[in-house]
Symmetry: C2
Subunit: 223 residues, 2 copies
């Protein structure tokens, strides 16, 4: 990259960081737990959110922001479950940015407890953009192969949790679950790892328990 | 984007196009058929190349360029099959660029017939960068869902072929093969579509026949 290109990129990331910090403060003030979900296309981000909605809605107040390059398909899936969803279409851009979230955040109802932000399907670029979330999750489906943490380290390095998806397919694949857990931990020793199937429901209750605990922690910080 | 950001991006893409055109001329002169493979992480690009190697090597001369953010894992897989492979690690960048290919191209043996360029696993950014290839293939595994052509149109719009992968898993999934073919054709009516399984070998012979035909066409253009 030329010096000019590097300086433009630094400006972009610097201003993104500032906007993300404001969003994080705002969400904390309102006691909203915000989760940024990142993964390859088709790893099951929307399906996981649907399962969480089935478990938590309507006892808990949820909201969803859907990031896509094109189409409102994912927001429509969420609304069909009775939960408010905001679609951000980036029109070509390969990731969400803090300013896109900041524009939507004012519309999120005050009593919201959990805000899920589904990033553009891309295991690379979203990892560089803080959106102001409290938690960052990287999803990896068992059909993608075990080598992904080593090949796409930034997504795993910047996330608090790795959610392994589609484990119902394990018996049809040569996927070494223990290897992927071990190699993900080598990149990020603090990563909490949960294995799930949106199809059979396996592992979903652990995800729900994790979310409830995290929201409780957020409330305690402000008690 | 600011005017400054847009101008930097235009400079980048303009210079990429120029370098790609030179590479294309060079490859044509040397009668090398170059295929740029794009897909999400884990759709099976390396596995497809391995199956092609099994069918064509050593009767035909093959070479492979592997693009990854980190690691030499994929080049090692290719070399284990007895084919020369060059690894480009982009060190964070989410796509290959023409200048990266141009630096390697001089090292490709003169008698090479087929050059496979495996792009970084990313269904978004690689679509914007011409590498100087003759053919662009987008891969989509049946585990990723049928909505991907609509959600990531540029990769499908700029490719000549869609290779659907992992069809051995179809019986375990709710994946509508006809729907994905139809919606991909809506985006790009000229797309040729091949369905494959690297595991069972289904559909691989059609890929091989397609490659041999395309190389024959390249030779005829220069007869």
């Amino acid at each position: 990259m030329s010096r000019k290109e590097i300086s433009v990129l630094e400006d972009l990331l610097g201003s993104n960081k500032k906007i993300a910090a404001e969003t994080r403060r705002l969400l904390e003030d309102r006691r909203i737990l915000a989760i940024n979900l990142m993964s390859s296309p088709g790893s099951g981000k929307t399906s996981l959110i649907e399962k969480i909605i089935e478990a938590l809605h309507p006892q808990h107040r949820l909201a969803v922001i859907e990031g896509d390059i094109e189409t409102e398909l994912d927001a429509a899936r969420i609304r069909a479950k009775g939960v408010a969803a905001w679609q951000i279409t980036t029109g070509g851009a390969c990731h969400l940015e803090a300013r896109m979230i900041a524009r939507v955040i004012g519309a999120i109802p005050a009593e919201t407890e959990f805000l899920f932000i589904e990033n553009v399907g891309n295991l690379v670029c979203p990892a560089s953009y803080d959106l102001g979330e409290n938690l960052r999750w990287v999803l990896l489906s068992v059909t993608e192969g075990e080598d992904k943490p080593k090949k796409y380290p930034k997504a795993f390095l910047t996330s608090q949790s790795l959610i392994i998806t589609k484990i119902d397919l394990l018996s049809h694949l040569n996927f070494d679950l223990e290897r992927v857990k071990r190699e993900a931990k080598e990149i990020n020793p603090n990563l909490s790892i949960l294995a799930t199937s949106a199809k059979t429901g396996e592992g979903i209750s652990a995800v729900i328990q994790f979310l409830l605990n995290q929201r409780q922690k957020l409330l305690s910080r402000h008690a």
